[in-house]
Structures are given as C-alpha cells and as structure tokens.
C-alpha cells in the first residue's frame, strides 16, 4: 500500500469510527429504564410550600383564585388533568410506564391517562402549539435521559401554577441496581417565581406482571348525566 492508499484507508476508517460513534450516541439508553414504575411517596421530595413567588406572581395567582369557589370551581370536578409540570410531580400513587425506542421515549401515565412523547435528538420546532403537557425533546447523557419541555399551556391550578414562560428540564436515571427510577424536575418560570423549583421524584420498579390500568375519569360525569335522564348508561 502506498502513502496515498494508506491515507484513504485511514480516512475511511476514521469516518467509519466517527459514524459508529455518532450512531452509538444517538441510540444510547438505559434499557433498565423501560417498564412500569410506582411512585415512592415516602422517598420523593414534596413540592416547596410556599412556592418561591415573585410579588407580582403571587398576586396574579391569588387574584385568579380569589374569584373562584374551591368546591364549585374545582377543576377536578371536570376531570381536568393538571398537565405539565404538575403531572411530573404527582404523588397520587398512580404508576407510569416508560417505553424506550430509538427516536422517541413514551411516558404513559395512568393518572388521567396522560401520554407524553419525548422526541430524541431533535430541537423544539420554531413554532409550537401550546399544549397541556407541552412539547418535549430529549437526549441521553450516558444512562441519564434529559428531557426539555416548553410550550405548556398557562394554568394557575395544580401543584405549580405557571405562565407560558414556564420551562421544565427533567433528568431521569435508574439507580439502586435497577430498583429505582429518579426524576429530577427543574421548573423555571420567571414571570411567577424568583428561582427554579427543583423536586426529586422517586419511583419503585413494579413487580413482574404488573399492569397499567385505564383511568377514565369523565365516565362518572357521563354516568351521572345518564342517570339524571333516567337511563342506564351501560348495555344490558
């Protein structure tokens, strides 16, 4: 092999290694993260109380709440899921399922049957439609899944009232030899808060054979309507 041939071979080899390395980075993930996880309320941190409001933020939220009756106007009566970021902080005891693919991570939450899609190795689009769970992109840093969520609809109810400036970064990783999933949630919203809100949530691996169940919250509202009309809601 002459010098020119050696250079070409080296170039090809380097290119192949580079491509292989890139491919490895793009698909790197921790397969132990896949599966069903149950919230560990005892180990998880609680959302700070009080929240670190700015003076203007506290007034805005207080004004929003002031005109509402906590019973009659409770969004829960209408089966309203809080969406992000409160959905990531829920300690209600309902499991979530992590489904890992090469280009998307799906977080399927039993509570309110919420589904989050984490689009991997891509950027947020220039224009996003505000949604209750926002738009999430992510990437793997070794065995840690880093998720960035924006475009969340501004909502003043739930654990963390927020404006359209809210931004959530989560770092998921599996610890305790695969027994525990931890999600470090960092919420920033300069329109309401003086500092980031950081909460660590812990989940325990569900036993083999565990199942996710449906959570049809609004069924009760429909049953109530049917019965109020003198009907039996389900087929005989």
């Amino acid at each position: 092999m002459n010098v020119s041939g050696l250079a070409k071979t080296s170039l090809l080899l380097c290119t192949a290694l580079l491509l292989a390395g890139t491919a490895q980075i793009s698909v790197a993930q921790d397969p132990a993260m896949a599966g069903i996880w149950l919230p560990d309320g005892a180990r998880s941190q609680r959302t700070p109380n009080p929240l670190p409001y700015t003076a203007a933020g506290e007034k805005a939220v207080r004004d929003w709440q002031a005109g509402r009756d906590p019973l009659e106007d409770d969004p829960g009566r209408f089966c309203q899921a809080p969406g992000m970021p409160a959905q990531a902080l829920s300690g209600a005891g309902y499991p979530l399922e992590m489904v890992l693919t090469a280009d998307t991570v799906y977080i399927l939450m039993e509570l309110h049957q919420q589904n989050r899609r984490i689009f991997l190795n891509t950027a947020h689009p220039a224009r996003t439609l505000p949604q209750r769970n926002g738009h999430s992109v992510g990437h793997w840093e070794g065995d840690t899944l880093v998720v960035d969520t924006t475009a969340i609809r501004p909502i003043f109810f739930g654990a963390v009232p927020h404006t359209d400036q809210v931004h959530v970064v989560e770092r998921f990783r599996v610890i305790d030899d695969g027994a525990t999933l931890v999600d470090e949630v960092t919420i920033t919203d300069p329109a309401l808060y003086t500092q980031p809100i950081v909460v660590e949530r812990y989940f325990s691996k569900a036993e083999d054979g565990a199942l996710m169940l449906e959570y049809e919250c609004s069924e009760a509202m429909w049953i109530e309507h049917e019965e109020s009309r003198g009907f039996s809601p389900f087929a005989p």
């Binding site: 906590p70 019973l71 409770d74 829960g76 009566r77 089966c79 005891g93 309902y94 039993e110 169940l213 449906e214 959570y215 049809e216 919250c217 069924e219 009760a220 509202m221 049953i223 109530e224 019965e227 109020s228 003198g230």
Partner: protein, 126 residues
Amino acid sequence: MRGWHVLQRLFYALVLTGCWQAATAHHSPVAFDTDVTDFTLEGEIISVDVRNPHSAMTLRVTNDDGSTTDWDIEFSSINLLLRRGWDFDRLVVGDQVKATGNPSALGKPEMYMWSIILPDGTEYDR
C-alpha cells in the same frame, strides 16, 4: 298526563337540587374535614360503585330517633384499591359495615372513607 308532568317536574327538581343519585358526585378534597380522620359510621350498603376517579357508596345509617339517613360515601379509585388488595365483590348491597374517614366540611351527610370493616371483620383501608 297531568300526573306525568308533575312527576317529570319533581324528577328535574331532584336533579337540579342535587338530590338525585347523590352517590355519583365527585367532590373536591376541600369538601371534607381532613383534620378529623376517625369519623365513623355504621350502616347498610344501599349502593356501591367502584370506579375512577373516586368510588362512591351510599350507606343507610339509623339515627338515634329511629329515622334513617342515606350518607354519600366517597373513597379511593378502583385502580388504587385494586393494587391495595380490595376484593370488590365483598362490598355487598344489604351488608352492615363500619366506615371510617373524614366527615363533610360543610356538615352534609357525606364522608371520605379511608377504611371499611365488613360483616366478617375483614378490614380494607385506603
């Protein structure tokens, strides 16, 4: 037909006043006095519906004067109760049970139930 219209109006009046199928209601947590956790009722199961987001039961309780009151009992979701080992077939209409939990914060015949003792002594909680 006039009788029918009267019944129809009574029916809608019941609906509008919330008296119809009170057990189907889904209350905000602030509807209950969570500082009181040992509020206890003993009575007969009139209806039970285990579901999401909260389950509902009507318990007929005999008062001191011999009259009865139908209490609207709310409790946890079917999903969580299933994982906690509840056997829903054992919540039988007609059975006498003891329910413990939070009373209404508004003085209504309502409670949020955290535990129940069945006729054979079996206790389910949460």
